[in-house]
């Protein structure tokens, strides 16, 4: 039996669960939770099996079926195209979805009948997301892309009675539509030029295609990714999207849907690589996003806010890696390009695991203290051992501390950006931004971690633990996914060393596969590696001294080796937290506030302006319909004259 022949079942199983839960869920005792679990779980088993088959054999599986036959030459097809990139996406999407559904069984427990809607929408989401991954052409991808967007809209607005949630849902919908329109325009250009949407046909025809048009196509396709993956300047919807349930944030807005944009960039990588300008643009957007979002994360007051900005920032890294890869490819450095491509996607996978874990952990915390304000937490480590330790692993991973997963991919992205700097100086600037981002990432993640788990218990913690609140952690169904994801966040980086190199599997080009020894030597002999490690460590230190000084005594820190030197260095500035308050707040927070203002007024202004303009002009058009039949008749006569004049003008001009 060839498992790949059954690949089409991967999205079908969750969709089947969607139909069953949708129609019958309200009558079930658990509102369809078990069916959802079974459907998504079945999809996961198949997806993992398929991915295993693909990765171990290196096969590429193709299947297609004509769908809308426009004419004998032009046909829209539905099909499956599975290569190693798709295999990696399958693993990420199916695994995290499954864990989130498991987690939801506990997390949504108190939501009553509303769970029915939740499970229905989650199943639909998982199905269409898997469908998106399986697609063999850009058009089919777009179809699922839109459906995924719809699910996101519905789930953000899950608590529709909160005005903020309704607003966020609308905003997400409108902002991502800007990207969708760009995507459509890109599709349009592709089809006009190449008359096909099929990935392989498109890639194969690039050499003979008009380079200008391909550059436009690449630009607009990337525009789609800007919307969906929340890149600057359309990043603003993602932090607002945190109004949805935390599980949804974990599933959609951190671990899977936002990756669709990166996946799109990966699929259009050869098109992007045809143009140096577009490659540069992609890289620049990625770098800027990573940096800008990281500065915003520094002062975010809510736990999910930190994670949301962090997600945007990490997505920026992925895009930066892919952009650098495309740029290198364009300049003929094919080996480096494929490393960069792989690095971007590798970061996608690692990020999905640790960010999924962080969100679910945050969910557990919120579940416990019933607040999202960081300032109201503190001292939770005593009550939530499992959450604390698993989140620590993820924080270390995202900060880029070796040998955790985040280190391998982030380091690789930065190294390749540096390498691209040889061909174009802009990438040098982007590399500096990337290193600064790495520093800030470490800082804000640990700021969050310390504020939640260490320090004095604040009102939220007290309220939860003192007034007859539960003093124990979340149920097992919630803790199990945390542990599994933490293990993955710890270890997914090592997949780099599996067999022929799992990492090698997601190269665009398979020419460059290094052995374990070679890779390790390469990584650890490069000064770049130490720069990023130092950036990460100093970020963590800064967070430690800023937010944890009251709890951990100086002696304790000094007694350990490396922190001792570091501590000694800072000892003269014992009042560093105060200084940080004074200088850091004014400087860093000021900048981030400024950026936030810019974002809120200028960028939002434009986005909201367009929708407001549409609604307003809709109102004007509507008022023209004044109800008097004679004004209609007058309009008719004016229309006749107008058309007559038009005919004349066109006739004369022609």
């Amino acid at each position: 039996m060839d498992i790949l022949e059954f690949a089409w079942l991967i999205p079908v199983l969750p969709l089947l669960a969607f139909v069953i839960v949708g129609f019958l869920g309200s009558k079930m005792k658990d509102k369809g939770g078990i069916v959802a679990l079974a459907g998504v779980g079945g999809g996961m088993v198949l997806a993992l099996w398929t991915a295993f088959e693909l990765l171990t054999t290196g096969r590429i599986y193709r299947a297609n079926q004509d769908w809308v036959v426009l004419s004998s030459e032009y046909t829209l097809e539905m099909g499956i195209y599975l290569d190693n990139v798709a295999a990696m996406m399958l693993i990420v999407v199916s695994l995290i979805s499954f864990l989130v559904v498991v987690y939801s069984l506990g997390y949504m427990h108190d939501q009553g009948p509303r769970r029915h809607r939740y499970f229905t929408e989650i199943c639909l989401f998982v199905g269409v997301m898997l469908g998106l991954v399986l697609a063999n052409n850009f058009f089919q991808m777009f179809v699922f892309w839109e459906l995924v967007g719809l699910c996101s809209y519905l789930l953000i607005g899950f608590w529709y009675e909160r005005p903020a949630a309704a607003r966020a849902a609308k905003k997400a919908f409108l902002v991502t539509r800007v990207g969708d329109v760009m995507f459509m325009v890109g599709l349009f250009i592709l089809f006009t030029e190449l008359r096909t949407f099929n990935y392989e046909s498109v890639w194969g025809m690039l050499d003979s295609a008009d380079p200008t048009m391909m550059a436009f196509a690449a630009f607009f396709l990337f525009g789609g990714a800007i919307g969906k993956s929340a890149q600057f300047p359309l990043h603003d919807w993602l932090p607002d999207a945190m109004e949805g349930p935390t599980t949804v944030s974990a599933l959609i807005h951190a671990a899977t849907m936002v990756n669709a944009g990166v996946y799109l960039v990966a699929r259009s990588f050869p098109i992007i690589a045809t143009s140096a300008e577009v490659s540069l643009f992609v890289g620049a957007i990625g770098g800027i996003t990573a940096f800008v979002a990281a500065t915003m994360a520094l002062c975010a007051p809510k736990i999910k806010g930190v994670l949301a900005y962090s997600t945007v920032s990490q997505l920026g890294y992925m895009i930066l890696g892919l952009g650098a890869g495309a740029f290198l490819w364009h300049h003929g450095h094919h080996v480096a390009a494929s490393v960069a491509f792989g690095a971007g996607l590798f970061h996608l996978m690692n990020h999905a695991f640790f960010k999924g874990q962080l969100f679910l952990g945050a969910g557990a915390v919120i579940h416990f203290v019933h607040t999202e304000e960081l300032a109201k937490m503190g001292g939770l480590g005593k009550y939530m051992k499992v959450s604390m330790i698993t989140m620590l692993i993820s924080c270390l991973s995202i900060a880029g501390i070796p040998p955790l997963s985040g280190f391998w991919s982030k380091d690789e992205v930065l190294a390749m950006t540096f390498e691209a700097g040889d061909a174009g100086l802009t990438f040098m600037v982007l590399w500096i931004l990337g290193v600064l981002t790495a520093f800030m990432t470490a800082f804000y993640m640990f700021r969050m971690w310390f504020m939640v788990f260490k320090g004095q218990p604040n009102e939220g913690t007290k309220h939860a633990t003192e007034h007859g609140g539960h003093k124990h952690e979340a149920p097992v169904s919630m803790l199990l996914p945390l542990v599994v994801l933490a293990a993955l966040a710890f270890g997914s980086g090592f997949s780099l060393f599996i067999g022929d190199g799992f990492f090698g599997a997601i190269y665009y080009d398979h020419a460059h596969v290094l052995s374990i020894g070679e890779r390790l030597t390469e990584v650890f002999t490069s000064p770049l590696t130490y720069i990023s490690i130092v950036a990460a460590v100093s970020g963590i230190m800064l967070a430690y001294f800023s937010f944890n000084k009251t709890k951990v005594s100086a002696e304790k820190v000094v007694s350990k080796g490396f922190p001792k030197a570091m501590h000694q260095l800072l000892l003269d500035r014992y009042k560093f937290p105060v200084a940080y308050d004074k200088i850091g707040y004014v400087g860093v927070y000021g900048t981030s506030l400024l950026l936030d203002k810019f974002d809120r007024y200028v960028i939002d202004g434009i986005v909201n302006g367009i929708s407001a303009f549409l609604i307003k002009s809709g109102g004007v058009v509507r008022k023209l319909q004044n109800g008097f039949v004679q004004s209609y008749a007058t309009l008719l006569l004016i229309g006749v004259s107008f058309i007559m004049i038009l005919l004349y003008v066109v006739g004369v001009l022609r």
């Binding site: 426009l70 032009y74 809607r117 529709y160 109800g627 008719l636």
Partner: protein, 484 residues
């Protein structure tokens, strides 16, 4: 004379005339509905016979009408619409007076549409349009005690009268210029009228008024929202899904047969009207509070999309236009029938009345969702497939010097994107929002016949969306027949 080509029309016309007589014998609403449905079914059979026998075009007498793939396809569309409307009406007008006349008028309107579908002559075309118009004026005014219905009828009738006068005047000018009323003969002569060009344009514009009125093309659309809103909802369904489509059939014949030789003169103007129409329709729909008005404006926007087919004017574009007409008949007709069905169980016509509908009737909410999403063009529903063909036609058919047509596609796509907003809003109301304060919350008991009509539309929309290639084939045959 050989009447084979006219059998479908004759059957429906006979049933229409017989119904008032039947009413004298048996005053039973459901029986009358059944008789009408039987008439429509018989007529459908005779059209099917044409398809099955593969007879090829059958001309009637001296070439006033023809039964070919084009007219047969549209007859099927019109007959199906009438079938659904009567099926739905059989419950929504229960207890009213003069039901026999109601069914009779619906059948007569259908006869008019079928005449237009098979006309090869301006004369028959005009008569067909008028038969439909006169029947629908009466149908809109059917509820005599209803102020809104009567007002709608007044407006409809006044506006319709003006348009029909314009059309007739335009036809008289064309007759004066060419000496004939047959499409083909006009088509052969029209290219030679270089010196009377202005006169010809004048005639062209005047004829457009009448057709533009029927299809609700901007600036001749202003009656549509009021009339769609005020008319009995089942009749609204017929206007949107039947009578509007008849206008397009007339337009196709007029522009693509009679006026094809001077296409360069009007294509840009029609293209502009198409873009204006879709934009105005969508913008006005954004802020509506009444579901019928929203659907009416959406219907105007859809007219804009279909006009793309006229402006591009290739066989491929026509295929797309016909296909979209077909799918739109089901999705818009179905949406209005949903509104009508819900009205019989005391759910109002404000969009806000649909809040929490999914909790009261899963079936209705699901159907409405499918129909609205199809209108928005979300795959894999019918509206998506037809929009794909329609919107790709300006690119596919691009001839030298007409690259500007690509803007038609762009405008169509942007407009579709805007339209999703107001469709999705209804879906959100139905599924996400709670019932309004004080509104009843028990499950709805839906009239079976109406639910059946809705179900047929939903099945058609999904079926066409999933297996579009068979239907595209039919539409392509029809387009070829028109150009033959």
């Amino acid at each position: 004379m050989d009447y084979t080509a006219l059998y479908p029309e004759i059957i429906v016309a006979l049933f229409a005339l017989a119904l008032p007589a039947v009413n004298l014998l048996l005053k039973d609403n459901r029986f009358l509905a059944a008789v009408s449905l039987a008439g429509l079914g018989l007529s459908m059979l005779s059209v099917l016979m044409y398809f099955l026998d593969d007879m090829g075009p059958i001309a009637f007498d001296n070439g006033l009408m023809v039964l070919d793939d084009f007219s047969a396809l549209f007859m099927m569309v019109f007959l199906s619409v009438a079938f659904l409307v009567i099926l739905a009406s059989s419950r929504s007008i229960e207890g009213e007076k003069h039901v026999a006349e109601y069914y009779s008028l619906v059948l007569l309107a259908t006869v008019g549409m079928m005449l237009v579908a098979s006309a090869t002559d301006l004369f028959v075309l005009y008569v067909g349009i008028e038969i439909t118009s006169l029947s629908s004026y009466a149908l809109v005014a059917f509820r005599k005690k209803d102020i809104r219905g009567t007002e709608a009828a007044t407006k409809y009738f006044i506006f319709g009268g003006i348009s029909s006068a314009f059309t007739l005047f335009g036809i008289s000018l064309i007759y004066g210029l060419t000496g004939t009323t047959s499409f083909e003969e006009i088509g052969a002569l029209v290219g030679t009228l270089e010196e009377y060009k202005e006169m010809l344009w004048m005639a062209l514009v005047m004829v457009i008024v009448g057709f533009g009125f029927k299809v609700a093309m901007v600036p001749f659309h202003s009656w549509a929202p009021d009339v769609y809103d005020g008319a009995p909802t089942t009749i609204t369904a017929m206007l949107a899904a039947g009578s509007k489509k008849m206008g397009f059939v007339a337009m196709f014949k007029f522009f693509l047969i009679a006026m094809l030789a001077i296409k360069a003169d009007w294509e840009i103007v029609v293209a502009m009207l198409a873009i204006i129409t879709m934009t105005v329709g969508n913008l006005a729909a954004l802020n509506q509070t009444s579901i019928k008005r929203m659907l009416a404006y959406s219907s105007i926007a859809q007219a804009g999309y279909i006009l793309i087919a006229v402006a591009v004017g290739t066989e491929f574009a026509l295929t797309g236009g016909i296909f979209h007409i077909m799918t739109h008949a089901f999705m818009k007709g179905g949406a209005f029938i949903v509104v009508a069905t819900l009205a019989t169980v005391a759910i109002g016509e404000r969009i806000a009345d649909y809040k929490g509908l999914a909790k009261r009737s899963n079936f209705m909410a699901f159907s409405m969702t499918v129909l609205l999403f199809s209108l928005a063009g979300i795959p894999p529903l019918a509206g998506f497939a037809s929009k794909v063909v329609l919107f790709s036609s300006p690119i596919m058919g691009t001839v030298q010097g007409a690259e500007w047509m690509v803007w038609l596609s762009v405008a169509g796509i942007i407009n579709s994107a805007i339209s999703l907003y107001y469709y999705a809003r209804v879906v959100k109301y139905m599924y996400v929002d709670e019932l309004e304060e004080g509104a009843p919350s028990e499950k709805l008991k839906l009239p079976k016949a109406m639910a059946a009509a809705v179900a047929i539309c939903v099945v058609a929309v999904i079926g066409i969306g999933v297996f579009p290639e068979y239907f595209i084939q039919f539409c392509q045959d029809a387009a070829q027949a028109l150009f033959a």
